[in-house]
């Protein structure tokens, strides 16, 4: 494992910003962090970077303790904060030069190539850049670093859809290069597009862990029954979640292969049938409904 969290906890007095978080992330994985504001996502990332000292538990990256060996950890990590603030008096090019030079093995060429891809005007001072431009500049500085781990906290905030697309593309490229990416976002479609696994945080606790490949196989089928109901054969029936509603309406959720389900459904007289992937939105809602229940 590349990232290992064991009972990681951060308390401020009686308030637990993160509680007993245990999680492992493999090398080369794109891992998403989801949760509402105050769920503990940023606290988790700041603990990984050594900004905060854990109240209990331990976090390691590549076998290095995130708190005690913070500089070594950051040598292997490139981080984009959620609230990007750069040095206002510097010009864009100088910002990239600074971040390229401060890192051993950093290359300005790589940063400049990326800046071209984002169509960034590097001659402008940071103080005179728009919020979106600053975000792009910080993204370029972060993505250009040649590190095995990339931590992106809300990377697409303040960006237009075109640039969001480029970011998703660059995350996919990072995965192909074998880099590990930790991706925190509120934009579910982005997380769905780029992540291999997703952790849902709620009130500082790890509420649910989802493998995206499994989620993509999950579908919800809605239809209206025009004829008699035929119960599904075993073992298919044990895998399905079936809800029968008024006026013959049915809702079926399937966790796996569609073929046997469709074969069973073809034995009934159904109307107005539609099939949809379950998607992250539904899962997100259900995780948080559980919280209120």
């Amino acid at each position: 494992m590349f990232i290992d969290l064991r009972g990681l906890t951060k308390r401020y007095g009686s308030f637990a910003a993160l509680h007993d978080c245990t999680l492992t992330i493999e090398r080369g994985e794109v891992f998403g962090l989801l949760g509402p504001n105050g769920a503990g996502k940023t606290t988790l990332l700041r603990l990984l970077l050594g900004y905060l000292s854990p109240t209990a538990g331990r976090a390691t990256i590549d076998g290095l303790d995130c708190h005690r060996q913070s500089v070594e950890v950051r040598r292997r990590t490139s981080y984009l904060p959620g609230e990007v603030r750069l040095f206002g008096s510097m010009r864009g090019r100088n910002v990239l030069k600074f971040f390229a030079e401060i890192r051993p093995g950093g290359e300005l060429r790589r940063s400049l190539d990326l800046a071209d891809r984002f169509e960034l005007d590097l001659s402008r001072r940071v103080a005179f850049m728009s919020t979106g431009m600053r975000q792009k500049l910080a993204l370029v500085a972060t993505l250009a670093a040649d590190t095995p781990l990339l931590i992106l906290d809300e990377p697409t905030a303040n960006l237009d859809p075109t640039v969001r697309g480029i970011v998703a593309q660059l995350v996919a490229e990072s995965r192909h290069q074998g880099r590990t990416v930790l991706f925190s976002s509120h934009v579910l479609s982005e997380v769905e597009e780029v992540c291999d696994r997703v952790a849902f945080l709620r009130d500082g606790q790890l509420a649910h862990l989802q493998v995206m490949h499994d989620l993509k196989r999950r579908h919800r089928i809605r239809a209206r029954l025009a004829g008699p109901w035929q119960p599904p054969p075993d073992p298919l029936g044990q895998q399905l979640v079936i809800e029968r509603e008024a006026e013959g309406r049915i809702s079926i959720e399937t966790p796996g292969e569609m073929a046997p389900v469709l074969q069973w459904l073809s034995s009934m007289d159904l109307q107005e049938m539609n099939v949809q992937p379950v998607g992250l939105r539904a899962l997100y809602d259900s995780v948080h409904d559980l919280g209120h229940g």
Binding site: V71, P81, R85, G88, A138
Partner: protein, 322 residues
């Protein structure tokens, strides 16, 4: 401990302030010496005698101020000189940690493979270098003032006896007024202890401000706390000087260790004690700290504050930018 790029960044961020403070100090010190040269000693003496009742507030006896060296040394007690060094020390010290955190730039800075100590000490190197430059600017300002100005001195006319070359003063004749270079009256070397004392004050203030900066997230609050301490300490010194019963208060303020006029007086009247740590009376009993004693006290407390700042910053949680 010091990172070249962080050093470069810190210099780039602070060079305008340093240039402004150094220019102000240099120009003011030169002007202050020029003003000294515009008033004859008699004129100045007449004015100062009016304030004899307030001599206790003066760090040196008035007789010392009736010398050109004493009057030039007053420059180092002027609010502009002390203020410019304090401004630099407080501005840079407060920016060091709470400034970076408040602006949100610490987040990106510490995302890089640099230690917290590197961030702190790279800034500190620039701050202390700046304090040294400002102290040097104050001495250079007075030095060039001394070298480029002259003063009027009344001289008694005399008779010269031919062949014997003997001059006999003519007390009956009206005195002749001559302009003589100020450098004949003031040795710039005597002012070096004052500049060193100014440097020591800057180190102390920078260290103290950095210590408060290291535990805060708002620069304005750091500056507020330091301004409060500064004013309180100044009042403590004034009250200590004003009342014999409260003279002990003088021992509780760092301004007691900032006595440039007294150190210039020691350099002038007791050259052997110019760089002494302790001053003893004829029987060898300790009476007070010497110039280097007070300077060491200020620099020592400043460095202790820097060590405290390092420990605090290294162990504290870094708050998220607001």
């Amino acid at each position: 401990m010091i990172n070249r790029l962080l050093l470069k960044k810190s210099i780039a961020e602070s060079r305008l302030l340093l240039l402004a403070c150094a220019t102000a100090i240099y120009a003011f010190c030169w002007t202050r010496v020029w003003i000294v040269s515009q008033f004859t000693m008699i004129q100045f003496q007449t004015v100062l005698e009016q304030f004899r009742d307030y001599e206790r507030f003066s760090p040196v006896p008035f007789e010392q101020l009736f010398t050109y060296t004493g009057r030039v040394a007053l420059t180092f007690d002027e609010p502009i000189v002390v203020g410019a060094v304090s401004l630099w020390a407080i501005a840079r010290g407060s920016d060091c940690i709470s400034g970076e955190i408040g602006r949100g730039t610490m987040e990106m800075l510490l995302a890089q493979p640099v230690s917290r100590l590197q961030v702190l000490w790279s800034q500190t190197f620039v701050t202390l270098g700046g304090v040294a430059i400002l102290a040097m600017a104050s001495w250079l300002g007075t030095y060039s003032g001394i070298m480029t100005n002259s003063v009027e001195e009344p001289v008694v006319r005399s008779w010269t006896i031919p062949w014997l070359q003997i001059e006999i003063p003519n007390w009956l004749a009206e005195k002749e007024v001559r302009r003589i270079p100020l450098s004949q009256e003031v040795d710039p070397g005597h002012l070096v202890p004052a500049a060193v004392n100014l440097f020591a004050l800057g180190v102390f203030l920078a260290g103290l401000t950095t210590m408060f900066s290291s535990m805060d997230r708002y620069r304005w609050r750091t500056i507020g706390v330091i301004a409060m301490i500064y004013v309180t300490q100044m009042i403590t010194k004034i009250v200590g000087l004003a009342s014999d019963q409260l003279a002990w208060l003088s021992r509780l303020t760092f301004f007691t260790a900032y006595e440039p006029e007294r150190f210039v007086s020691i350099a002038m009247n007791d050259p052997e004690s110019t760089w002494s740590f302790l001053i003893r009376d004829a029987s060898g009993v300790f009476t007070d700290f010497g110039p280097m004693g007070y300077n060491s006290l200020l620099i020592g407390m400043g460095l202790a504050a820097y060590v405290a700042a390092s420990l605090i910053f290294q162990h504290r949680d870094l708050p998220a930018p607001l």
